[in-house]
């Protein structure tokens, strides 16, 4: 549809996006492009709709009763919100990592293999599991105990396992919803390094409360705010450097310098 689609610069392109939960307008008229193989951070105060926006990109809002999404989101050429689009197919191409590590109560191996199995992976599952665990910088720590339960891992390891699980189905985009907020500083650092590493192969959209984290890991930053009706909206988007050093909008500047939160 637009020039940047397909193998162009942008992998996701939201246009005129509105989200309602029942009568409540949670997100108002968001226009946002996500650059391919870059890390885009979504920042903003609590309740500004960062997570809601993130969940529009893989149709996770479909699972919430009463949620309604209007507007277009182009994923390459496809409109994600079109009725022809199968959300399960979208979700196997746009992965997600959640705020609290949520490995299945299965073995480490089965956690990573789950996505392969449900998506009918025809290759060698064992190799794919190893590749994904290496990709998530977890292989060396778990290679001798792949059949142990995932719950035996530390919080940081569990979160990297969740990243490996998402990587296994070879998504084009990984959405991360405050992936380090439940982790200690050392584990957080490991996740941040991993995100930088992964940006070589996949597009990452990360929601974070932590401004330093956004500055450290992201190439692009989008700043959202919440209006008097508690509806979230996009204030500005730009290169992370520019957003943090010379934001165009004074509200962005006020937020990142900590004058309000």
């Amino acid at each position: 549809m637009n020039d940047d689609s397909a193998n162009g610069k942008y992998v996701l392109d939201a246009q005129g996006l509105h989200v309602w939960y029942g009568d409540f307008l949670a997100l108002r008229d968001v226009n946002l492009k996500i650059e391919r193989k870059k890390v885009t951070a979504l920042i903003g105060p609590s309740g500004c709709g960062k997570s809601t926006l993130l969940r529009c990109f893989n149709r996770m809002n479909d699972l919430i009763a009463g949620a309604r999404v209007e507007g277009k989101i182009h994923f390459n050429q496809d409109d994600l919100n079109s009725n022809d689009v199968d959300p399960t197919e979208i979700r196997s191409r746009i992965g997600m990592v959640f705020q609290k590590p949520n490995p299945f109560p299965k073995s480490i191996y089965d956690n990573v293999a789950f996505g392969l199995r449900i998506n009918g992976y025809s290759g060698n599952v064992e190799e794919a599991v190893e590749r994904s665990l290496r990709g998530a910088a977890l292989w060396d720590e778990v290679k001798d105990r792949l059949n142990k339960g995932a719950q035996t891992l530390s919080g940081g390891q569990q979160q990297r396992l969740c990243i490996a699980r998402a990587l296994a189905v070879e998504p084009e985009v990984i959405l991360m919803d405050e992936p380090a907020s439940a982790l200690d500083p050392v584990a957080t650092l490991a996740i941040e390094e991993l995100i930088r590493e992964l940006a070589n192969q996949v597009t990452i959209v990360i929601v974070t409360h932590n401004m330093q984290q956004a500055a450290r890991v992201s190439d692009e930053t989008a700043f959202l705010m919440v209006d008097e009706n508690r509806s979230g909206y996009l204030v500005e988007r730009g290169e992370t450097n520019q957003i943090f050093t010379e934001p165009k909008d004074e509200r962005t500047e006020a937020y990142i310098t900590g004058r309000f939160s």
Partner: protein, 293 residues
């Protein structure tokens, strides 16, 4: 200031006293129920132990107490339990999955839920009458194990459904989201993540239901009648009797010897019940250990 402190202190004493009183009340509640059970068990075991022998298990019923056994009733009970489990587990778990995962949250669903809960409280003899009309007569299954098992399944379905729903509802939403986010379909989420996690709870419900079924005499009395069974069922269409009915039969006889036999039969019934539960608990624990490791 000092006075105020004293006021606080007195209230604390009162609260402590209340705490101790409540503790005693609850302890008495536990003791009453445990002692009731203990007296019952002691009474049964003292009465039944002289009669609890191998021949009690392997012999057929007889007019002569020293030869009487409950082999047909034991086999009948095992048949009934097996068939009841075969019907009620898939249907009960299926209904629970539908209600929790698929059904729209509307008035109709709420109505169905209330009704299922109410069904759990219907007297069991009513199920017996329903089974006699529906399975024995209308479906012409006659007084067969199959008719008995179908009736028993109706009786325990509410228990299985309610417990399974609780277990399914207790599976963290985070697991479901993680599976959906990998591109799983509704059924893949249910079969791959929800059911394995809910299995221990579902098994508990099945144990509860089966424990209820094994002791029920009233509905089986309606279905099979007070038969003097001298054969064991070899197919689902055979006539049958069950342990509670054989015990009931013996208890209703005037001779003391048959009272002893009945107590022995109760011991066997308890043994079957306990071993059934033990198997289920074993299966449940094994699964839990597997997922915790």
């Amino acid at each position: 200031m000092a006075q105020k402190y004293a006021v606080f202190k007195r209230r604390k004493e009162a609260r402590k006293l209340l705490g101790s009183a409540v503790y005693v009340v609850f302890l008495v509640a536990v003791l009453v129920s445990v002692m009731g059970l203990a007296v019952l068990l002691i009474d049964i075991i003292t009465g039944g132990l002289p009669w609890f022998s191998w021949s009690l298990i392997t012999n057929y019923p007889s007019r002569h107490p020293e030869q009487a056994g409950l082999w047909p009733a034991l086999i009948g009970t095992l048949w009934l339990m097996g068939l009841t489990a075969a019907f009620s587990v898939p249907v009960g778990v299926g209904a629970a999955i539908y209600l929790e995962e698929y059904a729209a949250k509307n008035r109709l669903t709420a109505l169905i839920e209330v009704n299922i809960a109410n069904l759990a409280g219907v007297p069991s003899v009513v199920y017996g009458l329903l089974g006699a009309a529906l399975f024995v007569q209308w479906m012409a299954l006659e007084r067969s194990v199959l008719a008995g098992a179908l009736t028993m399944s109706l009786l325990i379905l509410p228990i299985v459904i309610l417990a399974s729903r609780e277990a399914i509802r207790a599976v963290p939403r985070a697991y479901r989201e993680a599976a959906f986010a990998l591109g799983a379909t509704e059924w893949q989420v249910v079969s791959g993540v929800v059911l394995p996690s809910a299995l221990p709870g579902i098994l508990t419900g099945v144990i509860l239901g089966m424990s209820r079924a094994i002791g029920e005499a009233a509905p089986m009395l309606v279905i099979s009648g007070l038969l003097f069974v001298t054969f064991i069922p070899t197919s689902p269409m055979d006539k049958f009797t069950v342990l509670p009915l054989q015990i009931f039969n013996w208890v209703s006889r005037p001779q003391d010897e048959f009272q002893g036999l009945a107590a022995g039969g109760i011991m066997l019934l308890l043994a079957v019940l306990l071993s059934m539960n033990a198997i289920a608990v074993y299966v449940r624990n094994r699964r839990q250990v597997k997922s915790d490791e």
